[in-house]
């Protein structure tokens, strides 16, 4: 087979075996440049995958080094998974995870669309810029800072309780963070607060790609601005909306560790425990390493399957792969 080194059509070239070493020598610096990343991937991405074997053994941490201990531990098969599915925690944790992500989706999905459309309709550039600058800011702070802010706003003499008392919605301060029934809503609103401005960028980009002549034509035909949004902006946003919705649904089991860990406490545990915090608590804090590893493995395998389904669906809908 002929080799042509100048072909850049994206397909891998088939190289005859006897030439492989020569080509490798020509490319030695490319491999050298890849080396740090290669070592990184092996050590910090693939070795932990091998370490998932601990989900199938009874790992006892006091026997020596990790790998020796791991391969000398008693093999227990799927016992830890079975224990997880049957001990009653599974349903609670799964309920919390789904409740948190789905309630979040109800707020955080429509908000960026509304913001993008509203910003697009505003003529004052200064007002537009001010709102955009403020609304992107929460995205860039850590969840630690966000949690500190939320705790302050929701405290018994915080701003939220002050507003509720002002409008006589409540006479007594509501202890939001000490009461489990508010927890999912707090996380959902917190997630939305943090991401809505930044997520609107995607929609603003899609809106800016719409041909302005369409709006001119609609104006000539007598369409008011509401009708312009209804019949021009929204239909043009549809592909973006569909793709981002599929992507968001792909993250349905990924409830985010930070917000649940930082905002949850002993009193709200029954509502704040999601897959990642549950695995953390049993593994790092209680030392049940194999059990925690099995819980983590369950969620990453299911998440991976969901990502594959999402990619397949997106391909069908959009005609292109997300990978």
């Amino acid at each position: 087979m002929q080799t042509n080194m100048n072909v850049h059509d994206g397909r891998e070239l088939t190289i005859p075996r006897r030439k492989l070493w020569t080509v490798f020598k020509e490319q030695k610096y490319l491999f050298l440049m890849m080396l740090p990343a290669l070592i990184w991937a092996l050590l910090f991405a693939y070795t932990p995958m091998v370490g998932l074997y601990m989900s199938f053994v009874n790992y006892q941490p006091n026997l020596g080094g990790f790998w020796t201990t791991l391969f000398h531990s008693e093999f227990v098969g799927f016992d830890w998974f079975e224990y997880f599915f049957t001990n009653g925690d599974f349903l609670i944790v799964l309920r919390n995870t789904l409740a948190s992500t789905l309630i979040t989706l109800c707020f955080s999905f429509p908000m960026p669309i509304l913001i993008a459309i509203a910003i697009n309709e505003i003529k004052s550039v200064r007002f537009k810029k001010t709102v955009q600058t403020a609304s992107y800011l929460p995205y860039f702070i850590s969840w630690v800072i966000a949690a500190n802010i939320i705790v302050t706003l929701l405290s018994s003499d915080g701003a939220i309780n002050a507003i509720l008392k002002f409008f006589h919605i409540t006479d007594e301060s509501i202890l939001f963070l000490q009461n489990g029934k508010y927890f999912w809503w707090i996380v959902a609103i917190g997630n939305t607060w943090k991401d809505m401005g930044y997520s609107s960028i995607m929609y603003l980009a899609a809106i800016s790609a719409i041909n302005p002549e369409l709006y001119e034509a609609a104006k000539v035909d007598g369409a008011n601005r509401f009708k312009q949004i209804r019949y021009i902006t929204l239909p043009h946003l549809k592909p973006t909306i569909v793709i981002l919705l599929i992507l968001a649904l792909g993250g349905i089991l990924n409830a985010g560790f930070d917000q649940h860990f930082l905002l949850g406490n002993e009193l709200t545990k029954d509502y704040s425990d999601v897959l990642s915090t549950y695995s953390f608590r049993y593994g790092i804090q209680n030392g049940m390493f194999s059990y925690a590893s099995a819980v983590g493995m369950f969620s990453s395998v299911v998440a991976f399957i969901i990502v594959c389904i999402v990619n397949f669906t997106a391909k069908k809908v959009n005609g292109q792969s997300l990978f």
């Binding site: 891998e12 492989l20 080509v23 490798f24 610096y29 490319l30 440049m33 890849m34 740090p36 990343a37 991937a41 050590l43 910090f44 991405a45 070795t47 932990p48 995958m49 370490g51 998932l52 601990m54 080094g65 990790f66 913001i115 509203a118 910003i119 505003i122 007002f127 709102v131 403020a134 609304s135 992107y136 929460p138 860039f140 702070i141 850590s142 630690v144 800072i145 949690a147 500190n148 802010i149 302050t152 000490q178 607060w193 809505m196 401005g197 930044y198 960028i201 008011n224 601005r225 930070d258 930082l262 406490n265 593994g283 390493f289 925690a292 590893s293 983590g296 990453s300 991976f304 990502v307």
Partner: protein, 297 residues
């Protein structure tokens, strides 16, 4: 007919401005509120009711935290990890991106998959902890740098950028006898400054904001980052709000005074301020980065 239409338009505009003003207040006010509380006298803050303006303006809370060696150490560690981590990551990510931009690389398809796969599947919390422990990275500064060294998504951004560069410059350098290393460092990397600045800002903000690695992989107080100290203060505050005064007194041997909300807010401000300061520059690059990602997918 015409006047009726303009009334509708007028109401529509009012609704738009109202909606966006609410969005502005909701996203801006919380930051204002923590600033107000942090600038108020710590004892006076206990009375509550601080919403728009401090009652007794004082910088005491800030002075108190800057007198605290724990905070200084945390700021130093955070700055160090941000600078070292960001530069090492940029270096390694851009080299990887350059290698993978060459489609004629032996095993290109394999290596691409090898890295992209790590974006979608991982060993998870516990095995990662075990591996990091077995590598001796517990209680080491390098635990902040190495596990997060490569961001595959950022690598794809850089690779896309490199692929869009005109190929002629590289070709002519190759004819002049330059090897891949020379081409990368002398020609490609200088051309990549815009995209490297973009990912650099992503990485720097990530380093500044990360707390989890410091929280679980380090025990030494001198390796606690600012965000990890803030987590500790938040935890103590959350616990304190559930405990009686006597229990609080018994636990108050901490080096950072926790009883005061003003001090908690001052630490929060100190952790937020650098983000707010670099933010105007970041905004432009982040939007660009996000657009690039959007185009890619």
């Amino acid at each position: 007919m015409k006047s009726k239409k303009s009334i509708a338009e007028y109401m529509f505009d009012t609704a738009l401005y109202l909606f966006l003003t609410v969005i502005f207040i909701v996203t801006f006010y919380p930051f204002w509120n923590i600033l107000v509380i942090s600038l108020n006298d710590a004892t006076d803050t206990l009375r509550g009711g601080l919403y728009f303006w401090p009652r007794e303006i004082t910088f005491d809370s800030y002075l108190a935290i800057f007198r605290n060696p724990e905070i200084w150490s945390a700021i130093r560690v955070t700055l160090l990890r941000t600078i070292i981590g960001t530069s090492l990551s940029i270096f390694c990510i851009s080299m990887l991106a350059y290698s993978l931009s060459k489609r004629h690389l032996i095993g290109w398809r394999f290596f691409s998959f090898f890295f992209v796969f790590t974006m979608y599947f991982g060993g998870g919390l516990i095995p990662t902890y075990m591996v990091i422990k077995s590598l001796g990275l517990i209680d080491s500064f390098w635990v902040f740098i190495f596990p997060g060294l490569i961001g595959v998504f950022l690598m794809i951004l850089v690779r896309t950028f490199i692929e869009q560069l005109p190929g002629e410059i590289e070709e002519s350098a190759k004819i002049d006898g330059a090897n891949d290393l020379q081409i990368f460092f002398r020609i490609v990397m200088p051309l990549c400054v815009p995209v490297l600045a973009t990912i650099g800002l992503f990485l720097a903000i990530g380093h500044w904001n990360s707390w989890y690695d410091s929280y679980i992989y380090t025990y030494k107080p001198e390796l606690k980052t600012l965000q990890a100290v803030l987590v500790k203060i938040l935890n103590q505050f959350q616990t304190a709000s559930m405990m009686s005064d006597a229990q609080q007194l018994a636990k108050s041997n901490s080096r950072v005074p926790v009883s005061s909300e003003s001090i908690r807010m001052a630490v929060t401000m100190v952790a937020t301020l650098p983000i707010v300061l670099v933010y105007p520059f970041v905004q432009k690059y982040f939007v660009k980065g996000m657009m690039m990602g959007a185009i890619k997918s």
